[in-house]
Symmetry: C2
DNA sequence: AATTTACGTCAGTGATGTTGACTTATTTGG
DNA sequence: CCAAATAAGTCAACATCACTGACGTAAATT
């Protein structure tokens, strides 16, 4: 590529002390961009073969991991609008990757489940991502596993952290300070 | 949210040994999604005020960090098409955030630079992201800094790693095995 | 019985990406 | 020196994924 060198025109004689620290943090910013770019590239290729996009992937993934998820939950997780979700969800249902059932207690709710077909695709997609992460953790060193989870968790907006902690349901030392050790396990489940 | 519990219908009696490991890896997959979602949310809010999107941010960032970047370089970095870049780049130029100059040696090249205005916005955006990362690293622990960079770097597709290493120009122990200690520093620079 | 809730849907819009083809200016190589 | 390759810009058409706002329907709640 032959990139030119940054001659640091801006912030010339500001605090030199944390200048180095800032450079390392900016490296993190850029690394996160590249890491995510490539993290999504493997699934994207597979999804293309089904005529699906990243939006389909996210829906399929979270429904697969959380059978009986409600539409409202999905909206909270993905932080998109009902209309955005509707399109991809409809496709996934129409093509037999996701099935829905009315809730027993509240029949307004549509509980979402993956079909066998959907589970297969979800697993293939997850395998691709798990493989890349496993390799990266191995390359990063023995303690990268835990450290990375702690870092990524801390990157989440404070308001959503508890929700995410419940969602990914990782117990033990894997995440910092569970704040509330009680984990009321609902018994309905599928 | 009251999410139902995964009853693990799939891969029932396969290897139980790394089942736990797989769960932790899947947690990483999901954490990366949430982390990136929130990582981009701060800049997005600021960009909105300028009528810009994420695409503008990426262009502005890399031009700001690499003055004199060529269009072709940008295409390699962002991995988008010329047409996608053209739209946002044109806007950034028209609105005075980025300036271009023909290359001295090769006058076909259009070298890109941020203007003062562009540098200010780029710095504000970077500050937002740096702040979130700094906080997350602090919460994750003392060695998260280095570990996280190693992990993120290893997440990058093997073919692009060297390019990225040059681009983010982090030396020393910050990244694993530089492979080639020689770093020929081009002297043209701006 | 009225309100709220969960979900679906219609219509319109915008940001960002894609492909393919073509032009212009400039450098390079036989 | 002229042909080919290269860097960049441009046009047209299109897909995906997000948005807003409004409205409908069924079921639960008050």
């Amino acid at each position: 590529m032959q990139l030119p060198v940054d001659t640091a025109k801006h912030q010339v004689d500001t605090v030199r002390v944390d200048d180095d620290a800032r450079q390392r943090l900016i490296a993190c910013v850029e690394l996160l961009f590249f890491a995510y770019r490539d993290f999504t590239s493997d699934p994207d290729r597979l999804l293309d073969q089904y005529g699906f996009g990243r939006a389909h992937h996210r829906v399929l993934h979270f429904v697969s991991r959380n059978p009986g998820l409600r539409v409202a939950d999905l909206l909270l997780i993905l932080q998109i609008t009902k209309q955005s979700l509707a399109r991809v969800l409809k496709q996934l249902i129409d093509e037999g990757f996701i099935a829905q059932r009315s809730g027993k207690e509240d029949r307004r709710e549509r509980l979402l489940f993956v079909t066998i077909k959907g589970a297969k695709l979800a697993d293939r997609l997850t395998d691709l991502q798990v493989r890349r992460i496993a390799e990266a953790l191995e390359k990063a060193g023995p303690e990268a596993d835990e450290m990375t989870r702690r870092f990524l968790f801390a990157m989440i907006g404070e308001k959503d952290r508890e929700k995410v902690r419940e969602l990914i349901r990782l117990t033990g030392a894997s995440l910092p300070e569970p704040a509330n050790a009680e984990r009321p396990i609902p018994e309905d489940a599928t």
